[in-house]
Amino acid sequence: MSTYKLAMALAAVITVTTLPVVAADDTPNLGSPISQEEISGWDITVFPNGKGLPVGNGTAAQGSEIYAAKCIACHGDKGQGGLGPTLISDRKRQGIDEAGETIANYWPFSTSVFDYIRRAMPWQSPKSLTNEEAYALTAFILEENKLIPPGTVVDANSLPKVRMPNRAGFVLRFPKLTPPIATSK
């Protein structure tokens, strides 16, 4: 190998190996790598397909006791609502007024129920419920709304399969109906 070719080869190696460093010079590059275990402490979003649901399970019978202890003050003894929204109801929607919306007649996904309970409830001590308690409360609310058969064990497998009555009740505004749109005058 000629000296020239050797130099070019070395230059190529140097270029390749230093490229990431060169790219990093474009940014302060101050983000710290974080492990999956660390991430898990904050990674609490549950998706409609069940992604994010934790290990554990619960039933309405278990949830009923937790409800009486931790939820009744705001949501009422029968889930009829009070300071907090209605959780259990067989009322029908009326007009375009959100006041008629309930979990049973409006919420499109059962996973949102678990997700919201676990992240935001109870009001005075959010994120204090165990995963088992959040499953049990989800089971209680779904069963009292007649959305799951009595005695159903709610867990990461069964919850995403619960078919909510208003699942098909939504029209996505984004992206096709988001302006600018041709119908504008």
Binding site: S32, W42, T45, I96, A120, V171, L172
Partner: protein, 440 residues
């Protein structure tokens, strides 16, 4: 030329552009001298009245107050404050509304910026707060606030509007309430921070990622899914609001800013961004910020605050002092771009004249419009209608109700029973000058 002749000439030069006394938008700008002439005329009359020399009030005769470290408004402007829909902080969301009817210009001062919190305002120690970016990225990373302060920053002026702003106008009857109560959940500030795209260059993006979920560190842990394209368009991680650190009610120490998208998506107290293939269908996107429709379906993922305007003066609660020259003033904005023009009517929408737009006219920002108006003392209905640069027109109330419906009963003025209302607003002025909220 006599004063009387000057006034007469001035009136002839003030070009009437629409019925009920709407004048050409440049009348105040180009006819200033003529107005001065008419003022002289008034002065001549007053000078005939015997009067004592002007005196000195107490503040001219004694030393003023010490200078505070952080300025607060004059005690005489103590009425220019937000309202609080939940003063006792009971367990429910708290809304504080901007007093648009008492303000001018296009920037909302930080103390008056609207805020909604779902579980109180957190006191976040910036030394402990971190932002984590993970999910469908090549390298999950976590940043301290100090880290983020080293990144290149940009500033932009943009409005933030709650998806529930103005929704009491879904009422079948016009609710008699001021612009603050009806339209106070929108504000506009200059925000400064780091582009989200800058941080995503560092984490790398898995091609499967189509959305990102943004989540707050407060008790509500609010999370929203945002199209990933927005991250590469104009999304910011904002630390400063009108030049000072974010107010606690507006997200201190950092918030997501997604210009033009409904307020709730501009996640405050931001601590986590997860890149994902599908939206999370969180409580706030799958249930709360939806828009039920007359056909029984509901819009989901409305996102954009569409082109809109409302008159702030005169508006409900004011009394127009008598026949004469006035300036109608209001705010216009569009979540997709710049305001192109604002038309104003003083006869309930039968005739329209074009308002003057205050520079600078910025994309996705408040644009102040003004219109000279000679009120003759007879009943008038004033309206504004905004158009954006993409040809979107603010719908009339009739157009809006035909598409979106209205409630069966009159709601509480603070209730969110539907979302995304942007129809034309009408203020009715009776012969006494009293301003009421009316429908046309």
């Amino acid at each position: 030329m006599s004063n009387t002749e000057e006034i007469k000439t001035a009136n002839q030069r003030l070009e009437v552009v629409a019925e009920n006394g709407l004048l050409h938008r440049r009348s105040f700008l180009t006819k200033g001298l003529i107005f001065a002439g008419s003022a002289v005329g008034t002065g001549v009359i007053q000078s005939n009245v015997a009067a004592a020399p002007l005196g000195n009030p107490e503040w001219s005769l004694q030393t003023g107050n010490p200078t505070p470290l952080y300025q607060t408004p004059s005690k005489f402007a103590a009425n220019v404050v937000r309202t609080n829909a939940n003063p006792d902080s009971i367990p429910k969301p708290t809304q504080a509304r901007t007093p648009h009817q008492l303000m001018e210009g296009a920037i909302t001062p930080n103390g008056l910026h609207f805020s909604i919190v779902h579980a109180g305002i957190p006191e976040i120690d910036p030394a402990q707060h971190k932002l984590m970016i993970h999910g469908l990225v090549k390298r999950p990373l976590i940043f301290t606030l100090d880290d983020l302060m080293r990144y290149p920053m940009v500033s932009r002026v943009t409005f933030i509007e709650c998806g529930g702003n103005s929704v009491s106008l879904f009422s079948p009857e016009p609710i008699q309430a001021d612009a603050q109560a009806l339209h106070g959940l929108v504000s506009c500030a200059e925000w400064t921070g780091v582009k989200l795209s800058t941080l995503l260059e560092e984490t790398g993006v898995d091609p499967k990622a189509k959305w990102f979920v943004a989540e707050g560190a407060d008790a509500s842990g609010l999370d929203r899914s945002v199209p990933l394209a927005k991250a590469f368009d104009d999304a910011l991680i904002a630390f400063y609001q009108n030049g000072e650190p974010l107010m606690p009610g507006n997200g201190y120490p950092m918030r997501l800013l997604v210009p033009g998208y409904e307020g709730n998506m501009n996640v405050k107290y931001l601590r986590r961004i997860e890149l994902v293939a599908e939206p999370a269908m969180s409580y706030y996107e799958a249930k709360v910020y939806t828009a039920p429709l007359p056909n029984g379906k509901a819009y989901q993922f409305f996102f954009v605050s569409e082109v809109k305007s409302f008159i702030t003066w005169p508006s409900y609660g004011f009394k127009v002092r008598g026949p004469g020259l006035y300036q109608i003033s209001g705010l216009a904005y569009s979540g997709v771009g710049r305001i192109k023009k604002v038309m104003v009517s003083a006869d309930g929408g039968k005739s329209w004249g074009q308002a003057a737009l205050q520079d600078p006219v910025l994309s996705k920002a408040f644009t102040r419009f003004r219109m000279p108006w000679r009120w003759d003392g007879s009943p008038a209905i004033i309206q504004s209608r905004a158009y954006d640069e993409f040809g979107n027109a603010q719908p009339t109330r009739a157009q809006f109700v035909a598409a979106r419906g209205q409630y069966d009963t009159v709601p509480s003025v603070t209730a969110f029973q539907n979302h995304h209302f942007n129809a034309v607003v009408s203020w009715g002025i009776d012969s006494n000058g009293e301003v009421k909220h009316v429908y046309v």
